[in-house]
């Protein structure tokens, strides 16, 4: 699974810690998603989409499809 989280975070000039605070997760979670070491759960993916006001599929891309 590829994602645009780092791009979106950079566009909004947010640090990993600031984004983690907004999403109510640890900074490690944000870092692991950005570096594609970890795919977030569906509720967290929805929270990210809501925060950046974008559909989930605009942020997360299934490379197999």
């Amino acid at each position: 699974m590829k994602n645009r989280l780092k791009v979106l975070r950079a566009e909004h000039e947010m640090s990993q810690a600031a984004l983690a605070d907004k999403l109510e997760v640890s900074r490690q979670t944000v870092n692991a998603i950005e570096t594609e070491k970890y795919d977030p759960s569906l509720p967290l993916a929805f929270r990210i989409a809501r925060l950046f006001n974008q559909p989930i599929e605009a942020i997360f891309v299934d490379v197999d499809s």
């Binding site: 780092k6 791009v7 600031a18 983690a20 997760v25 900074r27 979670t29 070491k37 759960s41």
Partner: protein, 146 residues
């Protein structure tokens, strides 16, 4: 595309990647203090029992007390896991699996080696190895996703 690196107000220190984040930190701290308190209590009870400072039947009460007090760190760990986010839970679960696997493998190997003629090892070794592996795996997991 190269993205600008936006620094955090508080740069990531050793402490910041080793701990589970601001929201989970109070629960993590409670667990650490309760496990340290329990270890101290366990050591005290062991000292009392090994030096025969209490007579029968009170020695049985002293032996049971650490088990009852042990509920506190177990509960603190469960609360920490319930409050932790999905990444921290993943790190903890991976660490628990590593600890269990290493403990199981050591236990099996020890039994086989003893049957083959090795001098009997202490049964407590397995527990120590499991706890050491748990700590190391937690540290490694926190480093991997730092």
């Amino acid at each position: 595309m190269t993205l600008p690196d936006i620094p955090d107000k508080n740069p990531h220190s050793f402490h910041s990647w080793l701990t589970a984040g601001k929201r989970t930190w109070p629960y993590e701290k409670r667990f650490v203090w309760s496990i340290l308190g329990w270890a101290l209590f366990f050591s005290g009870c062991m000292y009392v029992l090994r030096n025969d400072l209490v007579s029968n039947p009170y020695n049985w009460i002293v032996a049971i007390l650490p088990l009852l007090v042990g509920i506190a760190p177990v509960r603190a760990y469960l609360v920490f896991m319930q409050q932790a986010d999905e990444m921290i839970r993943k790190i903890q679960i991976e660490a628990l699996v590593a600890s269990f696997t290493v403990g199981l493998c050591y236990g099996i190997a020890r039994t086989l080696f003893e049957a083959a003629g090795m001098a009997p090892a202490s049964a407590g070794d397995t527990l120590v190895i499991m706890l050491f592996t748990l700590g190391f795996a937690q540290f490694y997991g926190a480093w991997k996703y730092r």
